[in-house]
């Protein structure tokens, strides 16, 4: 065997177990897909899909699953960008403040959600403070099912946990920007706001887009936040609807329909993004 061939063989062999494991993930997924389209008699059928797509819980989950991630990602973009610009101009103790800023993301998700529950639940800390300030009438039902307010709280809790990701990526982009750009603008007597709006923000957009693409995937798979804070019925999303079908209604096929709807949508979106990025990168 020639040297190159031996090398190729080694690489292939060494990578094989991991590749096999990654490929094996297709097995449960394909089993799920088959269970969705095969009826009791072994024939192809759309009955399962039709059944789930007319279920009101699923439809509510679908609409929340579009609404919550979109608002959440928009909020993360706005807060993340603003915080990155603010931290860029901080003079003292930058690394300490940065550490404090990323605390919500560094916490285990369930611990973070427990704190949110301690604060926002009916007899929680926020209502206790409001009660002391304004009496019994001041307490607010933060997790009232089907209310705009509760959707707002869920979005805020979800966005606040992951904003540090957006913030860190954008801050890194701002810090890597050559100082000469800003100096040139200063020489031309641009004000600080002009520098921020006309130079720093436009140049940070690519990094922001990367961060948002990463975040969007997680945002659409949202599960624990609405599930832990409000339960399946209080604020359904596709993942928690699938959980409900499987664990509470004992209907694995319906659960697969709900979960695969989300998986297929994400898969298609990611493949399209990768292809578009590949094309723009000159076929690299």
């Amino acid at each position: 065997m020639t040297y190159t061939r031996r090398r190729t063989w080694t690489y292939g062999l060494v990578a094989l177990p991991a590749m096999v494991f990654l490929a094996l993930q297709a097995w449960p997924l394909s089993r799920a897909a088959v269970s969705v389209i095969i009826g009791p008699g072994g024939h192809l059928t759309l009955a399962h899909i039709r059944r789930v797509f007319t279920d009101s819980l699923f439809l509510r989950g679908l609409s929340y699953n579009l609404f919550i991630p979109l608002v959440s990602v928009a909020l993360e973009a706005a807060i993340g960008l603003a915080m990155a610009l603010w931290f860029y101009y901080l003079r003292r103790g930058k690394s300490l403040w940065r550490t404090i800023a990323i605390v919500p993301f560094a916490l285990p998700e369930i611990v973070y959600l427990l704190t949110a529950k301690l604060i926002f639940r009916q007899h929680g800390y926020l209502n206790s403070i409001l009660y002391r300030l304004g009496g019994a009438a001041a307490a607010v039902g933060w997790f009232q099912p089907q209310s705009i307010l509760s959707a707002g709280v869920i979005i805020l809790v979800d966005a606040w946990r992951v904003t540090p990701v957006v913030f860190l990526i954008v801050l890194m982009a701002l810090e890597q920007m050559p100082d000469s750009y800003l100096e040139a603008a200063r020489v031309d007597s641009a004000s600080r706001w002009q520098i921020i709006c006309l130079i720093q923000i436009p140049l940070a957009v690519p990094a922001l887009l990367v961060a948002l693409a990463l975040r969007a995937v997680d945002a659409f798979r949202i599960f624990a936040t609405p599930f832990v804070l409000m339960g399946v019925e209080g604020m359904p999303v596709l993942t928690s609807v699938a959980y409900h079908y499987k664990m509470e209604a004992n209907d694995a096929v319906a659960a697969n329909v709900a979960a695969l709807t989300l998986a297929l949508a994400l898969f298609a979106a990611t493949t399209a993004t990768l292809l578009a990025a590949g094309r723009r990168g000159g076929g690299r």
């Binding site: 991991a18 449960p28 997924l29 369930i110 427990l114 704190t115 209502n127 959980y243 998986a263």
Partner: protein, 281 residues
């Protein structure tokens, strides 16, 4: 003249004031919730159902910890969580690090490998977990007392993660280092073992810590696969669901210990230079 000077001074202090207020708010919003968890964990359960709640605890006691120890056999859950996280991490590194290396050295494999890893990180865990439970039941791995089924599930998260980290750190390592070892008589694998692995110890350490946290924090798979032999995150969820905030907070405090330790040590080490190993100044 005097007024304009004063106006200038005011104009200078207002941004400073806003900045100070903002930083204070940031501290309160991000750190106060952790203090609330500690406060709830260290006071008797009766205080978590009092109304209105008091921010400052009335009594300090370890009664939550004691009752968890006596009624829930706390250690079993802690050890299961630790064992699953360590198992996932070791297998992920064992399979993922060589795979990431192969992808970094062999061009044709790199795009296949990174794209498969990316795609499998996109999958919602619940879409895999639901059919996976049906596969694990006949294998007797569903709700396994040693969490073997859960380790398999967590590998779908840990493995792509380790592959991507090792790929990213090894792709910048000059291949000349390995080639030099091969000229001196090493086989391809020998060069990997004697040169690449020692040089990439830092990157492997970072991958180890982050993959550990990935499994330690994981909620969805654990909720679906371990029905009675629970790891800590679903246990916290159930305690919170049944209003036992003291017990939930105690477990949460225990969960925080490795998380804080790992995040702290990652901040301490210069992560960037560790990832690129010793070959970049």
């Amino acid at each position: 003249m005097k007024t304009s000077a004063r106006r200038k001074q005011v104009r200078r202090t207002i941004p400073k004031l806003i900045c100070a207020v903002g930083l204070t708010a940031l501290c309160v919003i991000n750190l106060a919730p952790i203090l609330l968890v500690l406060r709830q964990a260290l006071s008797p359960e009766s205080e978590s159902s009092a109304w209105p709640l008091t921010i400052v605890p009335q009594h300090i006691s370890l009664s939550n910890l004691v009752s968890l120890w006596q009624t829930q056999s706390l250690l079993r859950h802690v050890f299961l969580s630790l064992w699953v996280a360590l198992g996932t991490t070791f297998v992920s590194l064992l399979l993922g690090f060589p795979a990431g290396w192969a992808a970094a050295r062999w061009r044709r494999m790199s795009s296949l490998m990174t794209r498969t890893s990316l795609l499998s990180r996109v999958m919602p865990p619940i879409a895999i977990a639901i059919p996976l439970t049906a596969l694990l039941i006949p294998l007797r791995l569903y709700n396994h007392p040693l969490g073997l089924g859960l380790i398999i599930a967590h590998l779908t998260l840990g493995l792509p993660f380790v592959i991507l980290i090792s790929y990213a750190s090894l792709v910048d390592m000059p291949p000349q280092l390995e080639e030099a070892a091969q000229v001196d008589g090493c086989s391809v694998l020998g060069a990997f073992w004697r040169v690449t692995v020692p040089a990439a110890r830092g990157a492997m350490g970072v991958a180890f810590l982050l993959a550990f946290l990935l499994s330690w924090d994981e909620f969805t798979y654990a909720l679906l696969i371990q029905l009675t032999h629970r790891t800590m995150p679903p246990l916290i969820y159930y305690f919170a669901e049944f209003g036992q905030m003291g017990a939930a907070s105690t477990l949460a405090t225990l969960m925080l210990i490795p998380a804080v330790f790992i995040i702290g040590s990652l901040q301490h080490m210069k992560t960037r230079s560790l990832l690129s190993g010793g070959w970049k100044g």
